[in-house]
Amino acid sequence: MKRTVKEKRNKGIGIVFCSAVYLFLFLPIFVVVANSFNATTTKPYLSWKGFTLDWYAKLWSNSSLLESFGNTMLIALLSTLLSTVIGTLGAVGIYRYKFKGKGIINGLLYIPVVIPEIVIGIALLTIFSNTGVPRGMLTLILSHVSFCVPYVIFNVRARLSGYDASIEEASMDLGANRIVTFFEIILPVLAPGIAGGALLAFTLSIDDVIISYFVNGQTKTYPLKVMESIKSGVSPDVNALSALLLLGTIGLVFITQSGILSGKHNKV
């Protein structure tokens, strides 16, 4: 009896504690959403001037904001595509073949992962600046690929560790060449790892601020546009775009999650 009372109390404390942490995590998001309804029209848009939905309409005529968002999407898609191809090939190659410098490559892959982003940012700025590569879309994509590739490789490698090379030999014994084998045998096995890596790369790319900040030239990505708007006060239409994106993602999560849960028996 005494014990259950105590357990109940502990459980209560646990719930309160976790709720507090969730509140902490979501509080600024509530603020962002609330600010998107602020009727204020004067910078720095801080004081509350009443409720309005105007900003959700005005958002669509803010061409520089939309353009930056388009840039972010384009950069994310291209750098995801490139880093997935390079990373997948690399992971397979590193796993399959023996060559000089394998240890070095393995070690170097950790550098973009552990070194603080600012160092990667200034290092890329330095090399682009010294070699005269004009800063812009190209340098943004190259930079994003450079920090995304390791994550793709780690993901694919996790799949490879359980991979049985003998099926590959079997395939070749049956007359398939390397390329056919790669596409028909290896890729399907690795698919989940590749997808995971690609999606992680995409996520990293769309939210990157620090590295992009150094190599963007005049091309603005969405996070950099936000950074610029912070200088003079974030206008509610930026908040509105963030709120819409969040709403969309959360909505999809719940739809798909319930879908996955109900379809679970068929799949497994």
Partner: protein, 292 residues
């Protein structure tokens, strides 16, 4: 396809190795190795009166970085990062423990709720804190309504505010590895410990913590190191008066026009990072758990 060529292809590994590993190797060479070497070289250079980098050997940049003023900034950066990491562990551990060991059906949802904030741009969330904590923000409105405070709260632009922002940014990076480690924990061990009469605290220190130390270590690395370089948090919440190593580096490249000094600072930051990673490996940390 003739049997001969196929056989040839089967034997030679040079071409396929080149095709598969080549792109990664080139990428690492040109976008990781070469830039870092250039930074290392530049850290020993001077600038002329028009801020151009002059490739002329000098150790003056490092000499400067050993002065008391700079040492103070490192000390403070390390202290801020350390405090952030500590708070992240103190909040993250019990939190990860509860959601990882809950028997609730909503476990998956609870986990997702940690990740969802990530989908909103991090800068705008930090700015959300600024507008929440400011003297015309929601906090003061609520506190005034509750008659707890009147007029102003003065929470912005302090070292504590920077730490709050850092904890906010990095708590999920602590929670995720801890969650994985705690979830793997075998529940029967805990029951055994308690059946054998161990008090909960003893179970915690002698069973739970040692078994999940890997998660703690990788969480600490994933918080401490990036924290040193997150210059925008102290810019937005610290008011520009809680400079960390990251702010110093940013300033050399973005306004002070002293790239060699910024390069030397970066090299120091790299050395600190490598030292921490070495310690992490010595403690038995797994490099792969830092990646994903």
């Amino acid at each position: 396809m003739s049997g001969k060529t196929s056989k040839h292809e089967f034997r030679s590994n040079t071409l396929p190795a080149l095709v598969t590993v080549g792109p990664v190797a080139l990428l690492l060479l040109f976008l990781v190795v070469a830039p870092l070497i250039l930074v290392a070289v530049m850290s020993f250079c001077k600038t002329d009166e028009y801020y151009n980098v002059v490739y002329d050997f000098t150790a003056a940049n490092y000499g400067k970085l050993l002065s008391v003023d700079y040492l103070k900034i490192y000390a403070r950066s390390l202290l801020i990062s350390f405090t952030t990491t500590l708070i992240c562990v103190l909040i993250g551990y019990p939190f990860a423990y509860i959601i990882a060991r809950t028997k609730s059906k909503k476990k998956k949802l609870l986990y997702m709720l940690v990740i969802i904030p990530f989908w909103t741009n991090s800068l705008i969330r930090i700015y959300g804190w600024r507008s929440f904590l400011g003297n015309s923000g929601w906090l003061i409105k609520i506190l005034t309504f509750l008659h707890i405070a009147d007029g102003s709260v003065d929470l912005l632009y302090k070292t504590g505010t920077t730490i709050l922002g850092m904890v906010y940014c990095f708590v999920p990076f602590m929670v995720l590895p801890l969650y994985t480690a705690i979830e793997k924990l075998d529940g029967s061990l805990l029951e055994a410990s308690s059946d054998l009469g161990a008090r909960p605290l003893r179970t915690l220190f002698e069973v739970i913590l040692p078994l999940t130390s890997g998660g703690i270590f990788s969480g600490c690395i994933m918080v401490f190191i990036p924290c040193l370089g997150y210059f925008f948090v102290s810019n937005i919440l610290g008011g520009g008066n809680t400079d960390m190593i990251g702010n110093l580096i940013e300033r050399q490249f973005k306004s002070a026009n002293n790239w060699p000094l910024g390069a030397a600072l970066s090299i120091i930051l790299i050395l600190v990072t490598l030292l921490l990673v070495k310690i992490y490996q010595k403690l038995g940390g797994d490099m792969d758990s830092l990646g994903v």
